[in-house]
């Protein structure tokens, strides 16, 4: 589904990603772990299309399409969705506006008509209940005045409504207490399906107790230096990142 090959990215002339390779297949959950500054967030931002990142080499293919040639909104409509580490506050834009406009944009791209109002209302009520969000949240401006946990739940709510093919979650666990973590993990786990892939970017192993990955990758200094199954995450938790780095250099 997602194929990243030899990806090199610079930010303000500083090399951040230095030849990153990653393949994610439908139905899989991948976790990318690594120390601070390794380039974890850069990877998801480049895939989502954030400005300020220059791809100097390499390719990103999503279902065979060249992602780097696509507009930001085209990527989302194709099914690539990024959950932000720091969800952006959008004063005045009600959650419900965002959800409906985004859903309709996606449907339009697929050649479907706008979602009928009753169906939409049923959908958003159901999904907000699943994320334990009061319906009044729908009337509130996107993320404005939300607590850290509410913002992250809101990111997952958007995923549940928009049903991406590839959900990328950047440090979705940061700033969450254990209860919020469980709600978020439950939301993410409900997204798991044979046709969908999930890419978790995280600093800590703790999230992976709640969302069990199929593959774990260690990103250090702009490259994936080690991949393994979920046991690798536990080992990282116990031993830190140093040994991986030493091993990769050796």
């Amino acid at each position: 589904m997602l194929e990243v090959k030899d990806l090199h990215v610079t930010v303000e002339d500083k090399a951040i990603l230095k030849g990153l390779d990653l393949t994610v297949n439908a139905g899989e959950v991948h976790a990318i772990m690594g120390p601070n500054g390794a380039g974890k967030s850069t990877l998801s931002a480049v895939i989502a299309g954030k400005e300020g990142y220059e791809v100097t080499q390499g390719t990103i293919l999503f279902e065979g399409q060249d992602v780097l040639e696509m507009e930001i909104e085209e990527r989302a409509r194709a099914g690539l969705l990024l959950g932000f580490q720091y969800p952006i506050e959008i004063p005045g834009v009600k959650n419900i506006y965002l959800l409906k406009a985004a859903l309709n944009a996606q449907r339009e791209a697929r050649g479907e008509g706008e979602i009928p109002a009753p169906e939409f209302m049923k959908l958003v009520r159901e999904k907000s209940a699943q994320m334990q969000m009061d319906p009044s949240f729908l009337q509130r401006a996107v993320n404005e005045g939300f607590s850290g946990g509410e913002k992250k739940r809101n990111e997952i709510l958007q995923m549940l409504v928009l049903e991406p093919k590839l959900a990328m979650l950047d440090e979705i666990d940061s700033g969450l207490d254990i209860d919020a973590m469980k709600i978020v993990a439950q939301g993410v786990n409900s997204l798991r399906s044979a046709g969908r892939a999930i890419l978790l970017v995280t600093h800590y192993q703790r999230l992976l107790n709640h969302i069990e990955p199929d593959r774990v990758h260690v990103l250090v200094d702009g490259r994936i230096v080690k991949s393994g199954d979920k046991e690798l995450a536990l080992e990282l938790e116990a031993r830190g990142y140093e040994w991986v780095l030493e091993e990769s250099v050796a």
Binding site: G49, I72, K94, A101, L138
Partner: protein
């Protein structure tokens, strides 16, 4: 013939006998208008607003007040209210609903007050809005023969909004109207007053309205001005407010329509504890021009004012904000806050903004600020990452900008109307109106 002469000849052609107090007022207004003439851009108060389109026009006076009932229903706000309707400045009793007024509430058309030779009304009219205020006030004073006289006895809490609806028709010959609104709110009374200006899309008339609102001790008035005139209408208005002790005034000055619009809002905070809130929103497109001049006079200690005006300007539209706060020397411990934010959607739109604080007291809390800018690019990005294309993202953020003023609106019929109007002005394919309706439906469910 000079422009003032051309306007005033219509006055001489008016039929009917006036009581002496009315005749005297007309004479004073006409004399003052003739002496002043129309303002030009050399006048500091009119620096950014050129009124030649008015001065060079030839406007008749409407002779009837007919309006198609079906179209009327489409134009009016759908609210349960005491309603007084003027059509091109003439009273339409059939469309008005003034039955069953509660005790302590009087709403009458100005023509009736004149006919009844109601001198008490004559005594109050013009006390706040004198003929020296501006040439347009003088012109209004000369012509005013219709409008709304609202009197609320002390302690009255009015159960429904008082809705003054001014309709402008598409006439073969453009007309002018000079409505006059007077509200006398007795001590501790509470009421909501709506002045709504709307009309047929092809209307090209000149409306020149003067409103005077007096709040006695402890009175609380919410005042809405909703201006949705046609894009060819010319609209000049001044609203004058006087507040007594512990009174509170909430103003919503919402302007969407009109080719050329000038609003003056002047408040006298005359006694301790008086408090005013100015909320303003305008959205202009094409070549629309909207000028808002506001003034708050803190004439007494411990008075409070808060002003928040927002403008959205597209195409080659032009906006003016001139907000002045004046604190007299002995007006200690006052608070005055003022903010003006403008959103430019086009490179060719123009805003002239001038916040002014003039403070002669030393123990005060005041702040003011003006910002003019474009949309938050981070927010545009965030919306695009959800699949919303860039023009739609910008439209949503524009709606949101207006929403910050509309959140203060307590009358949901007004808030929804404005939100839908703003949404409706953004490109149709965005179908923002549908979003607004969905949000309303979810809220109600």
């Amino acid at each position: 013939m000079s422009a003032p002469e051309r306007f005033l000849k219509r006055l001489n052609a008016r039929r009917g006998e006036d009581p002496s107090w009315v005749a005297a007022r007309r004479q004073a207004g006409a004399a003052r208008f003739e002496a002043l003439g129309f303002p030009t851009r050399r006048d500091e108060e009119w620096k950014y607003t050129d009124v030649r389109r008015i001065a060079e026009g030839d406007f008749a006076l409407a002779t009837d007040a007919e309006f198609d009932a079906t179209r009327f229903d489409a134009q009016r706000l759908d609210i349960d209210a005491y309603r007084l309707v003027l059509v091109d400045g003439r009273f339409n009793p059939g469309l008005s609903e003034l039955d069953g007024l509660p005790a302590g509430v009087s709403i009458e058309p100005l023509s009736q007050a004149i006919e009844a030779n109601h001198e008490a009304v004559g005594g109050a009219l013009g006390r706040l809005a004198g003929v020296d205020f501006s040439p347009f006030t003088a012109l209004n004073t000369a012509f005013a023969d219709e409008g709304a006289i609202v009197r609320l006895a002390a302690g009255t809490v009015v159960d429904k909004p008082i809705y003054l609806l001014m309709l402008s028709r598409a006439n073969d010959q453009p007309v002018m109207s000079h409505p006059r609104v007077l509200v006398e709110a007795g001590a501790r009374c509470e009421a909501t007053i709506i002045e709504h200006y709307v009309g047929e899309p092809e209307a090209a008339n000149f409306t020149n309205v003067v409103s005077e609102i007096l709040l006695d001790r402890g009175a609380m008035i919410d005042h809405y001005k909703l201006q949705e005139a046609s894009l060819a209408d010319l609209h000049v208005a001044s609203i004058h407010i006087e507040q007594g002790r512990d009174s509170r005034f909430n103003s919503f000055n919402l302007n969407l329509g009109g080719a050329l619009v000038r609003n003056d809002l002047v408040t006298e905070l005359n006694a301790e504890g008086a408090e005013t809130h100015y909320n303003g929103l305008f959205f202009v497109q094409g070549r629309q021009h909207v000028d808002n001049h506001t003034l708050v006079n803190h004439n007494a200690p411990r008075t409070f004012s808060n002003e928040n005006y927002k403008g959205i300007l597209d195409d080659r539209a032009h906006g003016v904000f001139n907000g002045k706060v004046m604190v007299k020397r002995d007006s200690q411990q006052i608070e005055a806050y003022q903010n003006n934010a403008n959103l430019l959607l086009s490179d060719r739109a123009e805003i002239d903004t001038k916040p002014e604080l003039v403070i002669y007291a030393d123990d005060v809390k005041c702040s003011h600020g003006a910002t003019t800018g474009q949309l938050d690019e981070n927010a545009v990005y965030a919306l695009r990452t959800r699949g919303i294309d860039e023009p739609m993202a910008r439209a949503l953020l524009t709606l949101a900008f207006a929403g910050e003023v509309m959140e203060q609106v307590r009358l949901s019929a007004v808030a929804e109307r404005v939100e839908r109007a703003v949404a409706g002005r953004l490109p149709e394919r965005f179908n923002l109106s549908d979003l607004v309706e969905t949000a309303e439906a979810v809220q109600e469910a």
